[in-house]
């Protein structure tokens, strides 16, 4: 496997390998020497054509802990903001000798376009493309769920996960639905009908518009960020109404079973889809997700760039 563009690029066994590898990476990160020499001499480019803080620094930290040379290529101040085409950017990266490109881009499929091989040869890791996918986020979410609910081992069978909010525009939701299904979990999507993809019934999920009814039945709740501009696009009448029907607060959180975890890919809109009380509650694992993100991205970089021929010296 050369590229990670979509969760469809990996099978169940390999997904579990990524999670297991991430667990080992986490142990490295907890140790006194946080660095591995695995990617020494490799050049990893962070190509971020869209604003992102946490994903970019998470990949950057992961690459650096594996001793890669990291080049950050972000939208602001770069040639991307001057209207340079993706093709020209890709050819520039090729000329720089990039072994891997981690791409975040506002256009769905941008990572696929880079990976089709005519413009550059390196490994392409999709760090979020438009409203399509965000595979590393799904992997870190699965890792977090597995750690809390499956003792950090195996797959996610018998786990029931709710994904709540703007499914239509969410790349996190798309990757999560694919990966959770692959790992044997069941998924329930909770959203107003306007924020669900057309023909969502073809997805392997159940759909509910009744958040309160779903909450007692699930082991993990993934809240999605709701963007302000959706309101002017007529997806829902008001922030207040959205919040009251599909937001989570302490009262709603109390409807869950003990041990149910609350997740959010960030950045959170406190007071809109998630109240401060809920976000900071003991059930919330939002901060831990960020830490797990680095481990997962180390595992991805290790498995996709270094290849399995080199062993990890923990």
């Amino acid at each position: 496997m050369k590229h990670l563009l979509s969760i469809n690029d990996i099978d169940k066994d390999f997904a579990i390998t990524i999670l297991d590898t991430a667990a080992e990476m986490a142990r490295v990160s907890e140790g006194p020497v946080k660095k591995l020499p695995t990617l020494r001499g490799k050049t990893v480019v962070n190509l971020f054509a869209e604003d992102s803080t946490r994903t970019r620094i998470s990949f950057e930290a992961a690459a650096k802990r594996l001793s890669a040379d990291v080049i950050n290529f972000t939208a602001k101040g770069s040639s991307i903001s001057k209207g340079e085409s993706l093709k020209d950017t890709a050819q520039t990266l090729q000329a720089l000798g990039a072994d891997a490109v981690i791409i975040r881009h506002p256009a769905s499929g941008a990572a696929h376009r880079l990976a089709q091989g005519r413009w550059m040869n390196g490994t392409v890791i999709n760090a979020g493309d438009g409203t399509h996918e965000h595979p590393s986020q799904a992997l870190l979410d699965a890792y977090t769920i597995r750690k809390h609910l499956k003792d950090g081992k195996g797959d996610l069978s018998d786990v029931r996960v709710a994904i709540v909010g703007d499914i239509l525009h969410s790349r996190v939701a798309r990757s999560n639905v694919l990966l959770l299904n692959k790992l044997g979990a069941t998924v329930v999507l909770v959203a107003p009908p306007t924020l669900l993809p057309y023909q969502v019934e073809s997805w392997k999920v159940t759909v509910s518009h009744d958040f309160n009814a779903v909450l007692p039945t699930v082991d993990a709740v993934i809240m999605l960020r709701i963007q302000q501009e959706r309101m002017s696009d007529l997806y829902f009448p008001s922030e207040r109404e959205y919040s009251s029907l599909f937001g989570i607060d302490a009262e709603r959180l109390a409807l869950t079973k003990p041990g149910t975890i609350l997740m959010h890919p960030g950045p959170m809109n406190r007071g809109l889809e998630i109240s401060a009380e809920a976000a900071d509650s003991p059930q919330s694992v939002v901060v831990e997700q960020v830490a797990n993100g680095v481990s997962i991205r180390m595992a991805i970089l290790y498995l996709f760039i270094a290849g399995s021929q080199e062993s990890i010296n923990v």
């Binding site: 256009a107 438009g130 057309y198």
Partner: protein
């Protein structure tokens, strides 16, 4: 200069095998065997002779977008595809919304001389959908415009559409509508369906096309005008047109070669070579379109030949331009999908490629049965011919074909325009 041409051994509309003698631009003799000398002879053994093809939907890009196509390169592409007449869509720069522009386009077409270039006039000034363009001036100009279209844009204002339909009645004009409700398709990238939902590309719902088709059929019927629906793509659209025709309403419809063959699953590659407006739909829609073209619900094949330069397609899907070139592959696709399987007769093929489009647009001297005395506009097609599409070999200035590498059966051996060969394989 050669002024006589003998076509030997071609099967006329797939029937009788005859020799055709052409002199001074007209067919002068049709007989089982003609031996009298001609300046030039074409061996059409095993081939079928059809009236030269007429395209009602061609983007020639000139003036203004000569980096994509010119009237000269587009005319050559048309000739290679068996066409003798094309209809130049109005979305040029400047827009073809005045007599001066349409006359210029027609004049350049005449100078190139490979096909008849009939300009289509814009319905509204600047294609902006606010005010009527100079419809009468264009109709009464040297270009004698009869087909009007804002193609690329839908005439979405129902009152404006009504007025346009009414106004063009005075010169027997026809409004060719690009049926796309703009509000329902803001930012749309591809067919709204399972594939778009998975790919995270904004959907272009079938209903955005069907609702406009239904509205315009009702409007045209009310005011007694002729309506032509450009590039129908959906099963629902076909059903509405079928109903309208069963009621005797004056509506005609068109389908493109690409919508007869390709589906939205191709978008899974994220290669914008498959990005087109209206978008590629589902297999069920493809099947409905094929059936409709065979049974007469859809009247014609229109190419919607839409050249774009490389940089408009070598990018992310959402920034890429909509459109694909199609003049040179139209017949091979029609043959491979419908004629080879005998779902469509040669007579019907002549209808959809030549006779019906010429009749809709009122192009005199085109779309006539091959008979003694008629102008010699002939497509000589070879059912046994094979074509592997190679974009580098296209005559069109732009190479944005989604068919690169695909093999089709049924090729255009030669094209006769006004008694002259404008294309012949091997020349």
């Amino acid at each position: 200069m050669s002024n006589s041409l003998l076509i030997k051994g071609g099967s006329i509309l797939g029937g009788d095998v005859r020799d055709l003698l052409i002199r001074d631009g007209h067919i002068v003799e049709i007989a089982p065997s003609i031996t009298s000398g001609a300046d030039e002879v074409v061996d059409a053994n095993g081939c079928v002779l059809l009236p030269g093809f007429v395209d009602l939907h061609t983007h020639l890009r000139e003036p203004g977008r000569e980096n994509s196509e010119t009237i000269a390169t587009g005319s050559l592409a048309a000739a290679r595809g068996g066409y003798v007449a094309v209809s130049a869509m109005a979305n040029t720069l400047p827009v073809a919304d005045t007599a001066a522009i349409v006359e210029q386009v027609a004049a350049i077409g005449k100078r190139v001389g490979l096909v008849d270039v009939f300009p289509i006039g814009a319905v509204t000034k600047g294609l902006e959908g606010h005010e009527l363009a100079d419809l009468g001036s264009m109709a009464h100009s040297e270009a004698k415009v009869r087909v009007f279209s804002d193609d690329g844009n839908c005439i979405s204002d129902p009152l404006l559409m009504r007025r346009a339909l009414e106004y063009v009645k005075q010169f027997d004009g026809v409004i060719a509508q690009h049926a796309q409700d703009p509000r329902l398709t803001e930012g749309s990238q591809m067919n709204e369906g399972v594939i778009a939902s998975t790919l995270g590309l904004k959907g272009w719902p079938a209903v955005a096309e069907e609702s406009i088709i239904a509205r315009d059929i009702l409007l045209a019927n009310m005011v007694g005008s002729r309506l032509h629906i450009c590039h129908v793509t959906t099963r629902g659209g076909v059903e509405i047109i079928r109903w309208a025709k069963s009621q005797g309403m004056k509506v005609t419809a068109e389908v493109t070669p690409h919508h007869l063959l390709l589906t939205d699953e191709l978008a899974e590659s994220y290669d914008p070579i498959y990005k087109v407006n209206p978008p590629l739909r589902t297999q069920s829609d493809v099947e409905a379109l094929r059936e409709a073209l065979v049974d007469g619900t859809i009247d014609i094949v229109g190419t919607d030949h839409a050249p774009h330069p490389v940089e408009s397609k070598e990018c992310e899907w959402q920034t890429a331009a909509f459109g694909m070139v199609g003049l040179e592959t139209a017949f091979p696709i029609l043959y491979s999908t419908l004629i080879a399987t005998r779902r469509m007769s040669w007579q019907r093929a002549a209808q959809v490629m030549s006779i019906a489009p010429a009749a809709i647009a009122g192009y005199a001297f085109h779309g006539q049965e091959l008979a003694v005395g008629v102008p010699a506009h002939i497509a000589i097609v070879n059912p046994a011919g094979k074509m592997v599409v190679d974009r580098a070999q296209l005559a069109s200035k732009s190479k944005n074909t989604p068919f690169h590498g695909m093999e089709f059966q049924g090729t255009v051996l030669a094209t006769v325009f006004n008694g002259h060969l404008t294309h012949k394989v091997g020349i």
